[in-house]
């Protein structure tokens, strides 16, 4: 019974800004007076109510996000007191941040590595440890520079798309196997491939 205080009620309860009564720290609305609360300091996964994992069901994530925005968006508070409007804006901002991060595989991987490996690899995924990634990126770039027809660009796009799919499968395995180092390298590769797709799109726009 000595360590009852490891999870102190003070850490799970806070005082509501409006009615001043106790309410859970992560509550969106005060349990007593229903006033909207400031966003809690939680991960994007907790904020949207999904399990922390690389394998996110994006359609399901969208539904959770819409349901939360329906309750918290500033449009619901347009005629409320300034403080409530400000808090709703903070909540909606936090939701947008969470959804934008988790719905995109690259941002999700980047974020997961960051929260998982924060003590192991503080530099995140920006460090290229693998020479082969750099060489691959340079080769792709050369190919892109030579591509001057739509067909050539489409071929590069297909190739890049296939590689992205491979990397995503690899990422899923790496995260499930707690292979943070591996996930980190794959994330770095995904960044290059993503940039490549962007450049292919720009190249197509130029040819049109």
């Amino acid at each position: 019974m000595n360590d009852v205080n490891t999870k102190t009620p003070q850490a799970t309860l806070k005082s509501c800004w409006s009615c001043k009564g106790p309410t859970p720290v992560a509550a969106l609305f005060c349990q007593t007076c229903k006033a909207v609360q400031a966003p809690a300091a939680v991960t994007h996964f907790v904020r949207l109510g999904v399990e922390q994992s690389f394998d996110v069901d994006v359609a399901g994530l969208g539904r959770l996000y819409f349901d939360l925005q329906r309750q918290l968006h500033p449009d619901r508070f347009a005629t409320k007191a300034p403080k409530e409007r400000a808090l709703s804006q903070q909540q909606a901002t936090a939701l947008n941040d969470a959804y934008e991060t988790l719905k995109d595989p690259l941002k999700r991987a980047d974020y997961l590595v960051h929260i998982l490996g924060v003590n192991v690899l503080p530099e995140g995924c920006n460090l290229v440890r693998d020479q082969s990634i750099l060489i691959e990126a340079m080769e792709m770039r050369e190919k892109l520079a030579m591509a001057d027809t739509m067909d050539a660009l489409n071929a590069i796009q297909r190739e890049t798309k296939a590689e992205i799919d491979d990397v995503l499968t690899g990422l899923s395995l790496a995260f499930r196997g707690d292979d943070i180092e591996g996930a980190c390298q794959l994330t770095t590769r995904l960044k290059y491939l993503d940039k490549m797709m962007g450049e292919v799109r720009q190249g197509r726009a130029r040819l049109l």
């Binding site: 449009d75 347009a78 005629t79 403080k83 947008n96």
Partner: protein
């Protein structure tokens, strides 16, 4: 004391003066025409004048005494007194005099030179009066407000106003300032294509991926939205804030004026000639949308010239503009990762979509006939009215919009560092860290820009400010954190601070091309005899909302935990609540605020007791859990 709880159930307390609060209109403040509409219980009415006209021409004539005449009458004065009449003012919103000169073409505006100490905001000379685009827009908004009040027989003080999706921060701020001058509180600025989508989604039940093609008098927007089950999610938006039907008029006018100069051997053109040519250009455009050809006469200074134009020539003249709209559609789709065939339907908005070659181009690009079931001139106001109702009465509809243009900061070498990329869902907040580049540097200039280009001078400058008081440190040691925050109206606030010293500067980004607070107050004072009363009324309304909020909170707390109080404590709180109720009914703002503060003080002990109880309850819960786990562990061991 029993009466305290009987007064109202939590959440059901009537807001005082609710009748007023619910009257919110939707306004489409257009370049050529403006429209006001109201929605009540889902029934939408576009408000018309005595002649049955819904469209109010966005044209203002100024009488010698400075009073404004708005709409059809002003339009009629355009030919006889061109110097006292102003049209297409929306094109100048949030613009500086230099921008306006660089907008190109023959603009029918007489620009005043900028005086020392004034903001860069453009000022026009109209019939001897110096006016900003904000004031002129305010006159149009006032006319719309009058129309609504006449229809409803009640005061209208709240509105949802639409702006082109591609409007930048300065243009949005200017619109909001105009509304404030006109005595309207803007509940929300809604993007025009989003409003149109709302009208189609709610009224026609459209679902799926839709594009909204909005070609108005002076602005072009295209937005890509996913509509499903009451959610309107904008995926991407693009456009040109200076491309519209006006350009078609200009193209024809220039064609006619070139012919006229050849005929008469003139060289210089008078402002009057340009206005008359533009007016004729517009007539020719409208005529050629249904006819194959026609002949027009330009009469200025007793010189008459005749001009023939057929549809093929007209379409040739406007082709560069139409091509540009399609190119922008393509860019928006590509960036969002879609193909024209993925789009389930294209909604047409704006009077300029009546031009047949525009419709043809849209149909050919998207591969389907565009939708125009709701009048393209009224659909935006209808959507704005629906949103005004949703914001005041409440609704399940959700509008999720994006930033149209990237927001960034100037860095070394005149480069732009993007902080918030375009098409980011709003509201959004993003921070970027910078550092000092000289030893002992104590200040840092911060230049906020908007646009997609890499160099600062190719983008739009929104504001400059200086963060001062940085403690002297070695170069690179300071941590300057600049935070950009965009609200649901698409308006930007920038804050900057030094992390280690906690100094902070905050700017609401409007100075470059907006009105300063001083200019605003003067204009408010000048434009409304009772400007002060108006401000006072607004503050009073705010005090009431805040006091109501406090009352609701206390009522909920009493209902949950009233057993924690002694009889005296309950009576004390009850007495304070009665005082707040009385104060809210009155019109003394200070009395309301004081009563609310007293109530806050009277409930302080109550709040402490509630927190204590909450923690006690939670402790009990934790102990029980702990106990159970201990027992469980013991059994399994």
């Amino acid at each position: 004391m029993a009466q305290i709880l009987q007064i109202h159930e939590p959440g059901q307390s009537p807001v005082p003066h609710q009748e007023d609060a619910e009257l919110a209109v939707g306004i489409d403040l257009g370049t050529t025409n403006s429209v006001v509409a109201i929605s009540s219980e889902g029934k939408i009415e576009v408000l018309k004048d005595d002649d049955g006209q819904a469209l109010v021409p966005s044209i203002v004539a100024y009488a010698p005494d400075g009073s404004a005449i708005v709409g059809e009458l002003a339009k009629r004065l355009l030919l006889s007194r061109p110097d006292s009449v102003v049209s297409s003012i929306k094109r100048l919103m949030g613009r500086g005099a230099e921008d306006v000169r660089s907008l190109g073409g023959q603009l029918p505006f007489d620009i005043e030179p900028q005086h020392e100490g004034e903001s860069q905001l453009v000022r026009l000379n109209i019939g001897g009066h110096t006016l900003t685009p904000i004031e002129i827009s305010a006159d149009i908004l006032r006319a719309l407000k009058d129309r609504a009040e006449g229809h409803l027989g009640a005061k209208v003080e709240k509105a949802v106003i639409t702006v082109p999706a591609y409007f930048d921060d300065a243009q949005r701020s200017a619109t909001k300032d105009g509304a404030r001058l006109a005595g309207l509180e803007v509940l929300r600025l809604v993007n025009e294509p989003t409003a149109a989508a709302l009208a189609y989604g709610l009224d026609k039940g459209a679902e799926g991926l839709f594009a909204v093609f909005d070609l108005g008098g002076g602005t072009f927007d295209v937005s890509l939205l996913r509509m499903q089950k009451g959610v309107f999610q904008v995926l991407a938006t693009g456009g040109d804030a200076a491309l519209g039907g006006d350009d078609f008029d200009h193209a024809i006018a220039e064609h006619f004026l070139t012919e006229r100069q050849a005929d008469l051997g003139e060289t210089g053109l008078s402002g009057g000639e340009v206005k008359v040519a533009l007016m004729t250009g517009r007539l020719a455009k409208e005529c050629l949308s249904t006819e194959d050809s026609g002949e027009w006469v330009l009469t200025v200074d007793d010189h008459q010239t005749k001009h023939r134009l057929d549809r093929a020539t007209f379409e040739g003249l406007i082709k560069p503009y139409v091509d540009r709209t399609i190119k922008i559609c393509h860019e928006v789709l590509t960036e969002a990762g879609f193909d024209p065939l993925d789009v389930k339907g294209v909604v047409l908005v704006g009077g300029s979509t009546r031009v047949p070659s525009v419709r043809k181009a849209v149909a050919s690009y998207f591969g389907s006939e565009p939708l125009a079931d709701i009048d393209p001139d009224q659909v935006v106001a209808v959507g704005a009215a629906l949103q005004a109702e949703a914001l005041t009465v409440g609704s399940d509809t959700l509008l999720l919009d994006v930033t149209p243009l990237s927001l960034g900061l100037e860095t070394m070498g005149g480069l732009v560092e993007k902080v918030i990329p375009r098409n980011t869902p709003i509201p959004v907040a993003k921070a970027q860290e910078f550092t000092t580049f000289q030893d002992g540097q104590t200040a840092m200039a911060i230049h906020v820009v908007q646009g997609e280009r890499e160099m600062v001078d190719q983008n739009r400058s929104l504001a400059r400010f200086t963060l001062k008081g940085i403690p002297p440190m070695a170069a690179g040691a300071a941590h300057i954190r600049v935070t950009f925050q965009v609200d649901a109206d698409g308006l930007l606030t920038v804050t900057a601070g030094e992390e280690t010293s906690a100094i902070e500067a905050q700017v609401e980004v409007k100075p470059s091309y907006g009105l300063s607070e001083d200019e605003m107050s003067t204009m408010l004072y000048d434009s409304m005899k009772n400007a002060k009363d108006d401000m006072e009324l607004r503050l009073l309304a705010e005090a009431r909302v805040e006091a109501e909020r406090a009352m609701l909170a206390v009522r909920s707390a009493l209902q949950a935990d009233c057993s924690l109080l002694s009889v005296e404590e309950r009576e004390d709180i009850g007495g304070q609540m009665d005082k707040v109720i009385v104060a809210i009914k009155g019109t003394d703002r200070d009395a309301i605020n004081t009563a609310a503060e007293d109530l806050d003080n009277a409930t302080r002990v109550f709040a402490e007791k509630r927190m204590d109880k909450g923690i006690r309850d939670a402790l009990t819960g934790v102990s029980m859990d702990k106990l159970e786990t201990t027992i469980g562990d013991g059994e399994s061991a």
